[in-house]
Symmetry: C2
């Protein structure tokens, strides 16, 4: 490759770095050679070489989640690029900024049967936010401007609300080896030290009069709820809990809302709604007037059903640039920054606050006198107690999956990232991890909720320098076992807890469990793998935690150790579903007996 | 699910079967429940449950390749469907008929933040031939007609030349369990025993006068070549070799043309062109007047360069409905069935043949007197001899990768499917597997030439009842290690030979090898895995074949055994490249010395 094309590509790589890209995840290939070599050559770009592009995609996703800045991905042409699709689909919905760079054959070799050439133009369809077909690289002044502008813009498009993946496709001609002899390889088209384009993002705020009107409307409703789903804004926890306190609203906090663990006020947080809203009478009696919802939809199905049940209550959804309302009940859609909105609402309300006024008696409890919030708090406390006792019940002979999170809550050091797999782990995290103050960051792949890519996502989080504990099921672990290679090659510290119920445990909770035929074939899907071999192949330690003592010991050691730990928790699908159901029944009974006592008293 | 939606879906499944679908590959999931259960319930459909959808896609690809009929794929919504993308991209280019069925949320749950919901409308873009968004299932008479017609049409679209994948997206509402109590579940909308639509494909033929004209043009050119790339038409080998014999043209046969092994005439077949066309003088001297090319472009790069060198020769490409000419040199593109065309050309020529007429002397040899064909045959023989000697050279201390195929040629039972991985194995197969008569079917994933999905493709071929031997590199084996689960769960017989050069061996042959920095990071990419653990995890036998004696013993046992065999051949990347180069040099020397002798003599 001559100097001209080299300089176009080196300017592009350099400008990615100036635009905030710190990491690039590369998979091996020939057509991508010039970009890969230039990335490796750039002094400020960290290269991660991940052979399996599917894993590479999720590895980049994990890195970008942890760092909250765009991460670049690079692969060669053909099916390599197709392997990114799952991670890209997840990134789009989970709003994670990725910059996907695919090498392609030049135009003269497309759709004529040339090797390793698939149609890469807009190949990710609507799974990406933005796509550009790049030009054949050349170093004319206008083209160097194009290289730098496009790099800056790609980063900006990825970081624009709602964040997400973008895709650039590079036609590259042979020879592919870049000219590394240029004395100032990364300076082409650049003037001075600053970025070629400094990109500044405004924060979307409502006009003061709109905030004022909304504040008044909320104040008029005593029985309000704040529902917080998956989101990841560090300042949000404090802002939303302060607002809730002013309003006297409970905050129903999904584990991925980042409200379950931290130094913000926790008295307003309801973390056991998934348990007590399963009881129909309770769900019916707790009639809200208004619901203010932030983030993605929470994982809890009882909450969804509760919202559907009270379809007449006003539902205000705050979503900065998106439209996430699977209930189709939103009466108000507010496109604004959630932190700013909470703060300005709290300010307005605090300025005019005089404490709750007006007293209502009877059931359902009124919000004016604090009874509404108190009721939720009591239900939460009852449920939490039953769950704690139920999880730790010494009568349970086998290992109960929910207890993994009850235990982890005691074991995880402050600052750990706790990544929960889909299907059962995220639901058990929701139910069994009670709010605490230690500042555990909870994560999941809850954009598209796939069971794929979890191991690699965890590796990416670890690569970002975080301590990460991944809890996932055996099918999910198997699905992304290739992700373990990163732990071996990069000596990444990581703790993986495999809840092994030998198959699709979640179906034991669903109507599929009643199928007269084909259940094990289609839903049970036992795979019977001994993961000891996987740990051995990738140089990890392996523990089969048959008892909670062993579990605690293994986790305690793993979370401060280097390298890979695989801790397997063998459970029984059917018994596990039974334990869960018994706990839900017990909670309903306790609540009912308390209310009966209340009515009698 | 009530009777109506159930009957729509059961009619669809039933009509797939009537349209020739024998196998459906399913991955576990909830949204796909009705289709999965109905597929399992259908008495004539074989269900394969493959957990990892990426592997499932390639498994279906292998099945469809082996059976030459459409194979159905079914998965749930979300990233599950995204995992099919690599296999679909391969199927499109390799022309393999797949019917991809994705379950989706119904319209009211799309793009509103509902769980496990990505945008699945036309999500595979131009990687599929045909896409249909299906209706919400219901059993009105018109809708039952729609279900059956669409199933028939999906199979027909997949089987229409050029064959390829099609995609149907099914919006499905809860409840998802189908009503299995219907007395005649698969009879809805069906009248009698025949298919709802009997689809008949014509065979594309040229009009007789066009064949006549073409025959005369070919006859006028003594120095013609027939080039056969990857294709899979059982009758083609005989048809094309008969034509070649009549014309006195050599047939340059890619290993995947299915001309390298079988009972057709072999005297016209040139199988070592990749070796001797590397020599510039030889390539220059062999000046063709016309090239008749069938199938995809052969793997050999020297052949491509040879065709580019002789850009003035007339290039006639025969491609039934496609346009595959990466040389951009085609002067004639013939859209017709290759077998029919060969036969009708041979008929015309045989009818008017009187043997070669006219004598030309000197070099390059004339075709009229058979000298042209004889020259190719001699070069082939010299090269073949050097390669045979070179591969078996007892002086080579380490294991030479090319020899894997020299050895396999002696070891494989008739009827074996030999599947070669991309990068080096397909190239070594090309060079080192000399033509034979035993009828080994050679296969590869040469649509997009990815290193992914090879293990699963082999499993699919095995699932179709074929004996399969897969040869692939360590990176490729690692990439699709999840594919091994099928061998464990279904006890599929399969022999996997892993040529382990610990990384990207092909780059040792490319300019990248001269990189001053970053070579091992970006291209060598050693992963250092001990595959013994993988074999153990998936219940396979493992052999490290350190010597050729061990190799022969292991392969001989494996090809008649049940279950999974992993035979690892440890090689050295650099030494291997050197051995190859020495053989190419030696061939060039022998050819030059022969020509020198010829000139002197």
């Amino acid at each position: 490759m001559t100097e001209g094309p080299t300089l176009y590509l080196s300017a592009f790589i350099d400008e990615l770095v100036r635009s905030g890209v710190e990491h690039i995840v590369i998979s091996p290939g020939s057509r991508s050679t010039p970009l890969a070599v230039l990335a490796a050559e750039h002094p400020q770009l960290r290269v991660w070489m991940i052979v399996d592009e599917r894993s590479a995609g999720f590895f980049a996703l994990g890195l970008a989640k942890a760092r909250r800045v765009p991460v670049a991905l690079l692969c060669t042409s053909g099916t390599a690029a197709a392997n990114y699709m799952p991670a890209i689909a997840e990134a789009k919905l989970a709003r994670v900024p990725l910059i996907v760079l695919t090498a392609d054959r030049p135009h003269e070799l497309r759709d004529v049967g040339a090797p390793q050439t698939i149609d890469q133009i807009a190949m990710y369809g609507r799974q990406v936010k933005w796509f550009m077909e790049m030009p054949i690289p050349e170093a004319a002044p206008l083209m160097l401007r194009h290289a730098r502008m496009t790099a800056a813009r790609a980063a900006a498009e990825a970081m624009q609300q709602p964040l997400g993946p973008v895709h650039l496709n590079f036609p590259l001609r042979e020879p592919l080896l870049p000219d590394l002899d240029h004395p100032d390889l990364f300076a082409a088209g650049r003037d001075g030290d600053r970025a070629y384009v400094e990109v500044t993002f405004g924060v979307k705020q409502l006009p003061p009069e709109t905030v004022q009107a909304l504040a008044e409307q909320l104040k008029a409703h005593g029985r309000g709820l704040i529902v917080c789903g998956p989101m990841d804004m560090p300042a949000f926890a404090e802002a939303v809990t302060e607002l809730a306190a002013v309003l006297g609203y409970p905050v129903l906090a999904d584990p991925l809302s980042q409200l379950r663990s931290g130094s913000h006020r926790q008295d307003v947080i309801i973390d056991a709604y998934d348990a007590f809203l399963r009881d129909e009478r309770t769900a019916e009696s707790l009639e809200p007037e208004v619901i203010l919802r932030f983030g993605a939809m929470p994982v809890s199905k009882p909450l969804l059903q509760y919202m559907n049940r009270h379809a007449d209550s006003r539902l205000i959804v705050v979503d900065d640039g998106g439209w996430r309302d699977p209930t189709l009940l939103a009466s108000d859609m507010i496109s604004a920054d959630p932190v700013q909105l909470c703060r300005s609402l709290a300010d307005k309300l605090a300025g005019q606050a005089g404490g709750p006024t007006g007293i209502r008696s009877g059931y359902p409890p009124s919000g004016r006198d604090g009874a509404w919030l108190a009721e939720w708090q009591q239900l939460n406390e009852i449920s939490r107690r039953v769950m704690q006792e139920g999880a730790l019940d010494p009568e349970i002979e086998d290992l109960f999956e929910g207890r993994v999170f009850t235990e982890l809550r005691e074991l995880l050091p402050a600052g750990t990232v706790l990544l929960a797999g889909n299907s059962m782990p995220i639901r058990d995290l929701d139910a069994f991890y009670a709010v605490d103050e230690r500042g555990v960051r909870m994560a999941g792949n809850r954009g598209a909720n796939g069971i794929d890519g979890l191991v690699s996502t965890a590796m990416g989080i670890s690569a970002a320098g975080e301590r990460v504990v991944l809890v996932l099921g055996d099918l999910s672990f198997y699905h992304d076992m290739n992700g373990l290679l990163a732990a071996k090659l990069y000596q990444l510290p990581i703790t993986i807890i495999v809840v092994n119920n030998d198959g699709g445990g979640i179906f034991s909770f669903l109507p599929q469990a009643d199928l007269p035929r084909h259940y094990e074939l289609l839903f049970g899907t036992p795979i019977g793998l001994d993961f000891r071999h996987a740990a051995a192949m990738y140089g990890g330690r392996y523990t089969k935690a048959d008892t909670w003592e062993l579990f605690r010991e293994a986790v305690s050691q793993a979370v401060s150790a280097d390298g890979l730990d695989v801790i397997e928790v063998p459970t029984d699908r059917r018994a596990n579903a039974e334990h869960h159901r018994r706990i839900w029944r017990l909670i309903a009974e306790r609540i009912q007996s308390r209310q009966a006592a209340g009515r009698e008293g």
